[in-house]
Symmetry: none
Subunit: 237 residues, 2 copies
DNA sequence: CCGTCTATATATAAGCG
DNA sequence: TCGCTTATATATAGACG
């Protein structure tokens, strides 16, 4: 993009290459961040320059977590590393044992992820299925608890906010009462029947606050007085 | 870019978010590749969708190598491990790396089994849940296929048995016919109207076969003519 | 989900300081 | 390396099949 077209091959001019690297690098990092935010995705990006300098981006600045997550997906490469080690000769018995355990775990991992199932018998499949069902129950229960906790926390916060508003309102009322009293003291004509300006202000404030919500809220959640469940989901982002 | 401007915030509309994710993802991967080629850089990119699916790019398709290179840069927690290792000499390094991996895998394993969930964030729990759901789908589909195969196999066997019975029957009939013929030859009284014993045998066999089933078979499976329902029961888990 | 189309928004090559 | 400008190449939002 730019004045001239660019072939997809190494830029031979060192200066140009460096400049392009610098520009494209920032563009790439920017876009990585954008997709992460816009689409609620988790992104990890590593760029090593020719000279070996590292530039990185990670959603929520937590590269480690993402890499661990990646490891759950990755196994093929790991297998290569394992055999790689093997070719270097088995150093010690313990080391070899470790490798065996690793392989077993990797295989299990794959099975837990629903991959590489061809080697399993019917019975094993059924056992695995049951295992996962049980695990899912635990996980869901845990998740529900976490959600409930957050929910309670938010409810408390909202109550507190409401209390403070209440307090403010009372104070304003008290002020008005005092002003009224003073007016009565000055002349005996009644002004009690006129609308109270401060009440209107308070009312407007609440209305405005109520409109900060997203317009696209799904119907099934609009009644929830505390937290839409689909929103709670993103609190920990 | 495009018809409308876009705020850098989560796209609330689920459809749009998905579409945008798809488009930007491919754009990002493309640009990662471009900078890698143009500027002779080494790039690793991982993108997890909201639903937990992984998309990745790595220069020369060698993610593992880049991750290892990354680890050399990353220090925080790893520094501790690294110095620990260095003091023990270089060959132990591989060994210790193996140990670290093992630990990670073990931890994952526990998570997959619904254990040790307290260390997980809400988001991670949700990712895990989705992961297991997907895995379960694969496993069930695999199991279904396995069952179907067995089913077909058994069906074939039964057909074969029936064929053999048929053959026997025919042979008996032929025999009887011959005996009759001989009887007729001896005296001219007819015995054609009497019931055929072989037919009864066949009927009894089928009835007995139908009763091998478990008595507690759920209703919905009692019609299955081939596969014992207690086995079929596990198809849908 | 994938591909196509179009109008627009962005990214960036080139050049200069 | 960095900023800035401009002309252009690309990316992509939105709509549709």
């Amino acid at each position: 993009m730019g004045r001239g077209r660019v072939q997809l091959k190494r830029i031979e001019n060192k200066i140009n290459r460096q400049v392009t690297f610098s520009k494209r690098r920032s563009g790439l990092l920017k876009k990585a961040h954008e997709i992460s935010v816009l689409c609620d995705a988790e992104v990890a990006l590593m760029i090593f320059s020719t000279k070996g300098k590292l530039f990185e981006y990670a959603t929520d600045s937590c590269m480690e977590r993402i890499l661990e997550r990646y490891e759950r997906y990755s196994y093929a490469e790991r297998q290569l590393v394992a055999t790689d080690l093997e070719s270097q000769g088995s150093w010690t018995l313990e080391h070899a044992k470790l490798k065996v355990r690793l392989e077993v775990l990797q295989k299990n991992q794959r099975h837990f992820m629903g991959e590489d199932l061809d080697t399993l018998s019917l019975k094993e499949l059924q056992n695995l299925e049951h295992q996962l069902e049980t695990a899912l129950k635990h996980i869901r229960s845990k998740k529900d608890k976490a959600l409930q906790e957050q929910n309670n926390l938010l409810a408390k916060k909202i109550k507190q906010i409401e209390k403070e508003e209440e307090k403010e309102k009372e104070m304003e009322q008290a002020q008005r009462a005092q002003v009224e009293q003073e007016n009565n003291d000055l002349n005996s004509s009644s002004v009690l029947s006129q609308p109270l300006h401060s009440l209107n202000i308070s009312g407007m404030y609440q209305a405005a606050a109520g409109h900060e919500d997203n317009d696209e809220t799904p119907l099934e959640n609009q009644n929830n007085p505390v937290m839409p469940p689909w929103m709670v989901r993103h609190i920990n982002g």
